[in-house]
Symmetry: C2
């Protein structure tokens, strides 16, 4: 490969070197085109020699699709989000799409500018993992022919495709699990984020307890993360009556909570304190935590998205909310049975 003046090689140059027309080059690199084997060889050789690569930007200009899919996400360094991106990028690549990740702060303004970017780059689809775009922004994307997929946003907006995890089911299950373990003083640890999906878990748990005649306190002392879990534990165990069962709406919260309960208040898990988390991040399986939690079927969700995107039918076809069942993961942070 010869080193050229620093600019991209175009099809025309390949054509000249191969002694064929520009169209022949184009056809060689187009999937369902008809080229004779001999021309094809010549073109391929010339392309290799020149270091030619099809310009997807130009191709996307005339062709319908850019094959770009935007991922809107915040707090990427969080285990849950990171895994989501990991899986999403892999699956998207497997169907020939490429992921643009836009790191939003989750604030409305950030989300808005992110949504605008997605149409600037003519993304085929936008997958929203964090934040809640305004209906008008969503409408813009949709009217531009983009597919909009909202994950765990729960705002049942019609138009975009909604994918949710059955938080209510899981949270109710969590309550009964703690109850069955013999917990009598149960608390919920959530965050001030107010994410629809976190809120749903919190509310469903409280409701399940209420129906059972139990009033459970809810701690919300900061953003969704380890530190907030710590803070919640400090407050809960600083009270006169301390909990013997805690449902944390996120694994990260559960871990902060567990660490403080153990190290600062000498609680033993699960003997004196049962804890349940949510998400089943990698760390939940670590020996130090061994956390009972609910796994979000990220793999299935990603598969579903990919199937949606692979289908060439327009998204208009009334795609209702698709919901996935979280999978309970039994580990050692909940007492197997009630104490005598």
């Amino acid at each position: 490969m010869e080193v050229r003046e620093r600019s991209f090689v175009k099809a025309e140059e390949v054509a000249k070197l191969a002694g064929v027309s520009r169209s022949a080059v184009s056809r060689t690199f187009t999937d369902g085109a008809s080229v004779s084997e001999v021309t094809r060889k010549k073109v391929l050789a010339a392309a290799e020699a020149l270091g030619y690569h099809v310009n997807h930007l130009a191709r996307g200009l005339s062709h319908e699709r850019s094959n770009i899919v935007c991922l809107l996400v915040s707090d990427i360094s969080t285990p849950y989000q990171a895994r989501m991106i990991d899986i999403a990028t892999q699956k998207l690549q497997s169907i020939g799409k490429i992921a643009m990740v836009i790191n939003t702060t989750g604030e409305p303004e950030g989300v808005a500018s992110a949504m605008r970017q997605t149409v600037n780059y003519r993304a085929d689809a936008v997958i929203v993992l964090s934040g809640t775009p305004s209906p008008s922004l969503i409408a813009t994307c949709l009217s531009n022919g983009q597919r909009v997929i909202l994950i765990n946003r729960d705002d049942q907006l019609s138009g975009p495709t909604n994918i949710v995890v059955e938080n209510t089911f899981a949270a109710t299950e969590a309550y009964h699990l703690l109850k069955r373990a013999g917990c009598a003083r149960i608390a919920v640890v959530s965050s001030t984020a107010g994410t629809p999906s976190l809120k749903a878990r919190e509310v469903a748990f409280v409701e399940a307890a209420r129906q059972d005649g139990l009033d459970v306190p809810v701690m919300q002392t900061g953003p969704t993360g380890y530190a907030t879990g710590m803070e919640a534990a400090r407050r809960l165990f600083g009270r006169a009556v301390t909990p013997d069962g805690i449902f944390c709406v996120t694994d990260l919260l559960a871990m902060g909570c567990m660490d403080v309960a153990r190290n600062e208040f000498g609680m033993s898990v699960p003997d004196e304190l049962s804890i349940i988390g949510f998400d089943d991040i990698d760390q939940a399986a670590w020996m130090s935590y061994n956390l009972t939690t609910f796994r979000q079927p990220l793999d299935s969700i990603a598969d579903h998205i990919v199937r949606l995107l692979a289908a060439e039918t327009l998204p208009q076809a009334k795609s209702p909310t698709k919901s996935f069942q979280p999978i309970p993961v039994w580990r050692g942070s909940v007492r197997p049975r009630p104490p005598r």
Copy 2:
């Protein structure tokens, strides 16, 4: 905003509605253009009404830059990589670039196809966080005018910009730290990955020990991660003479190692066993680990990259390897002073 037939709005339609020429529309959305305030207002109003957004693909076609930067990375769900992506996407966005993340398997073949994608999308730059692209692929990118930035790849290839962390310095420091703590039976836990940067840490530590007259065993039992750390600990503590000081080339390894040492062999950290990790991932600061480690100055690194990309000068300008100093983070996993 009216709902149109599902396709993107183009400048021409805006021009028609605003009663101006296409050029006027273009100028309105071009930074250094001259438009009268009145035309500008009209165009903006029409654009808003139609839901117009500049097509960056088309813009990138005529203009020089696509403003796309590709991130080549594997194991995205790993805390270290995730944080890298988090910071990189943020900083890139702050200078008007957008990140395409390509999830490679790290294998040569995967890296190769990823590199090809970067030129397909005419990325302005490609940042390699995982895997080692072949020199010829790098040459292709460079000759196409792309900037290539290799992070912690250590293969001192001339051409691309190399950014490394001073692994040798840190590993040497780690050895003396353990020595000062009174450790006499020291081991290294690494992985079979053979990443240049991990290898450098491992070798430097062994060398520092050798110069000190000590022979340290190196455990390599699998990929870089928590499970491999566990396995390493099982083998180390299953021996006749067990270590009292361990240097793990990665925090994740250190955590797996620590958990097994404590829970399966009853070791107490740091009294009976001192452990040092590398990376300073979030979990290192968690109460259960409180791990002494070396922080990679990811923020400074990202700033440097952004400065590189923002500078319009061609990368030809002989950019030597830029190296960053890891920052020692003193926590509680190393005994403060030797036992009496």
